[in-house]
Amino acid sequence: MMPTERFERHLPGLLEALAEPRTPGYFDDLMRQTAGTSQRAAWTIRERWLPMLDIARQPVLLRPMPWRAAIGLALMLLLIASAVFYGGTHRLPPLFGPARNGVVVHSDGGDLYTTDPVSHVVTPIVTGPDVDLDPIFSPDGTRLLFERKTDADSDQGWLYTANADGSGLVRVSPESQAHLAWYEFSSDGRWVVSTSIVDGFPQISTVRTDGSDFRTLDTSGVFPWGHPSFRPGDDATLLFVGAQGVGGSYPGLYLIDRDGSHLRTLLKVNAGADNLLPDAVWSPDGTRIAFTQAERNQIEFRVHVMTLDAGADRPIEDRIVGHEMGAWFEGWPVWSPDGTRLVIQRDTGEIRDRAQQGANLEPSVHPSTAVIVSVDGTAPEVPIAYTMGPSGAIMSWSPDGRSVLVTPIDDSDARLQQLLWDPVTGASSIAPWAANSLPAWQRLAP
């Protein structure tokens, strides 16, 4: 008999004898600890959120450039404009500010579709036996990025890009990635960043959209907890919420270069507390970051807007935005395309003192609402006439800033029919197309 087989056959018993399983003496203390720990509301837990991003891709803020290059660029643009005029080439959306609404892309039954939000015409664009999920557009509206699996229940997936009409598929993942949790284009559409599990830990990976130069970034023991995103106008810099613990403990805001170098800390919160949500997002122009942080009592959450020193990537201001007295939870900010407003989620339940159980505070959990707030506080906020369940919703502005496209999530973590919110009136309506995919809207030139 092969020694291999004998050793394997004996190994379970040997491990059993070595480990001697028994209820540990600390079990009662452990139960006292858990009893004194508050359960978190479902929507504050990362795993409730499929990690798709806000698809109102924000345009690039051009940096100053040398005169010669500027002239050369102008000439090139003139040539391109001529080609567009005479050749009918598709014009690209502006690099900054609102854009014209294109189609909405979504997945259903493992295939990808686009829907014209005006005509409601639905067009299948990627079909087949594979399971294709959660497509998003590039900032210029010309390419798609999505996950492909061979089995819907598999944790392994590959990232693919395609033209907006579904043609020209290119696989960008060199091999399957486990638990793909996030992906997005750079603002120039040439790079993709993703988060997946590598060797048991979340990791950030970058790759060119042609599939070359794939690399997993070494974040020096800081686990990505939330979605990394390219800085608009500076596609060599990534922002991410990181944590020292795999589950999100000891979190902070970090920047890292696309090649994995130069990790720097923007914000470090108190150790031992999960008091940053994985929702940090760049403003459209890349000068500010909106994120959600817990207050000192580690129960109440507030939306913060951090302004960075342009030259040094150093925070020069950090203030709370959109707070309403009595609200214990405000979070999950999403920037409007012009950078003047945020849509946030808010819960105005009470904070109860669990003094009898050990002085831990816990909020009363109510269905939450959404509200449009102005970043500078000068405009009145607009409450949305829709009550979300405990799991909240994924929200995304339309490119023209006149709507917010929403995918609610129910208690069983299932996605519901998409909605459209009016950020001026607060009205909520069912989107006139059948989709419960995560919101993704194409940007077009005006």
Partner: protein
């Protein structure tokens, strides 16, 4: 009249019925317990935790090779399980989910302590050559040392598969690695452990680990 006095002939059937009911109740409806725990019933969570803590504590000690660190990992995993239980999408996956939390907590601790991969030495720990492999391995210290020489992540694969009885595809999924990688690491771990414990018993013919006996 049915009573509790076992001398009462009429009480015997009722007592049996009572015992039967207890047994039926004792056959824990885990899904119900998970649902209750999700809604904040800590007593329900304590029942669930009590049913699994022994093996998970043992697994953590096997992975981390340090009872204090194992204590920390189990503590972290269980506290997180209670706190984040509302996020569990499928109550039937509670055991696998809790197991994953504890194993990941072990790897988290191991990584922070920078117990990185130790190149496996094929030098035998003890030079005893015995035709009876079981006898050779009967020395717990040998197995202990053989495990200690593995990288914690490789050790986790061995412990999850052979101690916790997790099928290899689920081990791979829990650790976020491709199945082929899990198979490869398991194979190499076993080879390294065999070589370290009883080198004379190591076959020169490589064998591919298939699904394992729990596949």
């Amino acid at each position: 009249m049915v009573g509790n006095d076992s001398r009462d002939a009429c009480a015997i059937p009722s007592e049996r019925d009572h015992i039967g009911r207890i047994e039926q109740e004792a056959v824990v409806d885990q899904r119900d317990l998970v649902e209750r725990a999700r809604r904040g019933d800590h007593d329900a969570f304590a029942v669930l935790a009590g049913a699994s803590v022994a093996r998970l504590d043992a697994a953590a000690r096997l992975i981390l090779r340090d009872p204090e660190l194992a204590h920390d990992a189990v503590q972290d995993g269980f506290i997180r399980a209670w706190r984040d239980l509302p996020a569990l999408r499928d109550p039937d996956r509670f055991d696998a989910w809790l197991r994953r939390l504890v194993v990941n907590a072990c790897l988290d601790i191991a990584r922070r302590r920078r117990h990185r991969a130790i190149e496996v030495e094929l030098t035998p720990i003890h030079g005893t050559a015995s035709p009876d492999l079981a006898s050779a391995v009967a020395d717990r210290d040998q197995l202990d040392e053989a495990l200690r020489r593995l990288d914690p992540e490789w050790r986790a694969i061995v412990v999850m598969h052979y101690f916790l009885g997790v099928p290899l595809p689920e081990v791979a999924s829990s650790l976020g690695i491709p199945l082929g990688t899990a198979k490869s690491r398991l194979h190499r771990s076993l080879g390294a452990m065999r070589a370290a414990i009883a080198p004379d018993e190591v076959s020169t013919t490589s064998s591919v680990v298939t699904g394992g006996q729990f596949a």
